[in-house]
């Protein structure tokens, strides 16, 4: 069995340096502009949170292992080594103060995709045992129990029973040959079961064949958050197995940011083959159903509403226009935040930060940015499409004593569906 040692970490760093990483490090001229895109810097003013600086361990490995001058420096003892102390110090920078939101990657003048590198640097941090305890525990629960929050299928089955009883809707489970297999995040199972009810409403309304999978309902992937492809692979494989077993055509990612990244973008690479099914985000599906006229809504709300783009879905996932079209469909008083879409500011809890209690004080501090952004719109309601964003924002608003209802976009659409006769 392998062990979390510095050596394993260094090897992981070596594995993670690819051509883009090398091109990015070669191009950085320390201009510091990335700091201005990072809410951990803008809200604290502490230069240590400058995004590119968070990559110092990976940069050193790149320089010393993959460049001529770096190798020479190492030989003559001029190269600063990557030590366990360094990694320990950098844990705060690579985990507590980075949500992988990718905003820095959008502003870098030389084009460095810093978030891409942070994701890769975390592989070395995990391998060397320098990942946050809470996220480690969540990963352990995800692998051993099946969900980072420790819930099992039994809990979902109970929720499903409640919802079916309350709403009179049917929620199909393990139906082989169904077209759509939605995934859920455990947060939705526990905190927002409305989402499951909304799904049932929408699928029923649109007349689509769908099913939940008892063996693969959990969409979240702590492997992606902590930064371990090995763990992420195991979790993705469960979903692929479930979908293959039920022979579904579409797997639908839930209102959860990193789940979309893991199943839509990283999944096939992790298991090493393309999926035999298509992956859509629930908002993409809703937008398709809207466009094809399969879902019809009525009585658009006149409330002033704004939309928070989850980073993984918008800036990093390309689902930007769909939520706007859906908002327009159900709301007549939609207002954008100052920076929105691909320029949106993160809630502060992505990339595993919300699961990390060590990061909590900092997260609440930097939430100021999101709070201001929301307040500037004067909206009466905030709509989003990520259960994690939703919880983080709720908590943040509470901290700053701001009263504002938040709703998931799927629920909002489901509430406006034309009632079936």
């Amino acid at each position: 069995m392998s062990k979390a040692t510095l050596e394993r970490g260094l090897n992981a760093f070596r594995e993670q340096v690819d051509a883009p990483v090398a091109a990015f490090f070669s191009s950085c001229v320390s201009c510091g502009i990335c700091a201005e895109a990072c809410l951990f810097y803008t809200e604290t003013g502490d230069p240590k949170y400058t995004p590119i600086r968070k990559l110092e361990p990976l940069r050193r490995v790149w320089e010393q292992e993959y460049t001529l001058v770096g190798k020479l420096k190492k030989v003559v003892g001029l190269a600063a080594p990557v030590t366990d102390e360094l990694l320990q110090e950098w844990q705060e920078l690579l985990y507590d103060s980075c949500t992988l939101c990718g905003r820095c990657s959008m502003v870098c003048p030389v084009g460095n995709d810093i978030a891409y590198m942070v994701r890769r640097a975390r592989e070395g941090m995990v391998a060397s045992g320098n990942s946050p305890k809470d996220v480690q525990a969540a990963a352990e629960r995800a692998v051993r129990i099946g969900s980072p929050m420790g819930i099992k299928y039994k809990a979902l089955a109970a929720q499903v029973k409640h919802i079916e009883a309350d709403s009179g809707l049917t929620i199909p489970i393990d139906v082989e040959g169904a077209d759509y297999m939605p995934l859920l995040s455990s947060m939705e199972v526990i905190n927002f079961p409305e989402y499951i009810e909304s799904l049932a409403r929408i699928f029923t309304h649109a007349g689509l064949s769908w099913t939940l999978c008892s063996e693969a309902f959990e969409a979240t992937n702590t492997g992606i958050q902590i930064g371990s492809s090995d763990i992420a692979r195991e979790l993705v494989q469960r979903i692929v197995d479930g979908a293959e077993k039920l022979k579904v055509k579409y797997v639908i990612a839930p209102e959860c940011g990193h789940a979309y990244t893991s199943i839509r973008w990283e999944g096939p690479d992790l298991i090493g083959k393309p999926f035999p099914f298509k992956v859509l985000h629930i908002l993409e599906l809703l937008d398709e159903l809207r466009a094809s006229g399969r879902i019809k809504t009525e009585n658009p709300s006149h409330e002033r509403m704004t939309f928070h783009d989850p980073c993984s879905i918008g800036r990093k996932g390309g689902v930007i226009d769909a939520p706007r079209r859906l908002m327009q469909m159900v709301n007549s008083n939609f207002v954008e935040m100052q920076d929105h879409g691909k320029w949106n500011w993160c809630c502060g809890g992505g990339g595993g930060v919300s699961a990390n209690t060590e990061a909590e004080a900092l997260r609440l501090k930097v939430f100021k940015r999101k709070k201001n952004q929301i307040e500037e719109t004067g909206a009466d309601k905030l709509v989003t499409a990520c259960a994690n964003c939703r919880l983080v924002i709720e908590e943040g608003l509470e901290e700053y004593r701001v009263e504002l209802p938040i709703e998931g976009l799927t629920e909002l659409v489901a509430r406006h569906l034309v009632e079936d006769k």
Binding site: C28, V110, K316
Partner: protein, 220 residues
């Protein structure tokens, strides 16, 4: 006894050949080092293409995003100022174009000397502002290491010596021109092994960034 002419001939002769050779070899080594590391195959179904969005990002990153400009006007203005001053001086001064024509077999029209002269002054001012910014801006100060200051010096010297030589402020002229050429040789020799490489690698970096985003259907 022939100090300044000997010096000039050395800088225009042996030293230039050596510097160009190290520059070319070094750049190629660096590019090979980078590209050889490869990129894992992308198996997820793409939402968009890679090539064109990559090319587009190469262009679009030349302009700052509005919010960033408001927060860091000095970094951006100084950056533009010295890059433009440098590029105009390097690429549009007729004696330089003659050098490129000799090297590549083709040239391009230049600008009248007073305009290049003004650009060089702006370049010098821009670089001084950039240095001041690096020394005072807390983020840049923390990020900067010796190499950042080294590349500043390497960039500043050719502009300064070029300006002094053009205005014949160092006598005799062969010494002035020799110093100017030597400063460029210094730049050429260290170029491939320092952050100056961004001149070339930023095209790779921007392309990768744009391509990876493009694949996900995002404009970066």
């Amino acid at each position: 006894m022939n100090e300044s002419m000997d010096f000039l001939l050395w800088t225009r002769g042996t030293a230039f050949d050596v510097a160009v050779a190290i520059f070319v070899v070094g750049i190629l080594i660096r590019l090979f080092e980078i590209i050889s590391l490869g990129r894992a195959a992308n198996l997820a179904a793409p939402k968009g293409s890679e090539f064109l969005p990559g090319m587009k990002t190469i262009l679009t990153r030349t302009l700052p995003e509005g919010g960033t400009f408001k927060r860091q006007p000095l970094t951006i203005l100084a950056g533009y100022l010295f890059h433009i001053g440098l590029l105009v001086s390097l690429l549009l001064f007729i004696p330089h174009i003659e050098l490129f024509r000799e090297t590549f077999g083709f040239g391009w029209p230049g600008l009248p000397n007073p305009i290049v002269d003004a650009a060089a002054v702006l370049g010098i001012v821009g670089l001084l502002a950039a240095l001041w910014n690096r020394l005072t801006n807390p983020v840049m100060k923390l990020l900067s290491d010796k190499e950042d200051y080294l590349v500043w010096v390497l960039t500043f010297l050719p502009l300064l010596t070029g300006y002094l030589a053009y205005h014949r402020m160092i006598n005799p002229y062969p010494l002035a021109m020799g110093l100017h050429i030597l400063s460029i040789e210094l730049l050429l020799v260290l170029f491939p092994f320092t952050k100056l490489m961004h001149t070339f690698t930023l095209f790779l970096a921007r392309w990768y960034n744009g391509a990876m985003s493009g694949r996900r259907g995002v404009e970066s």
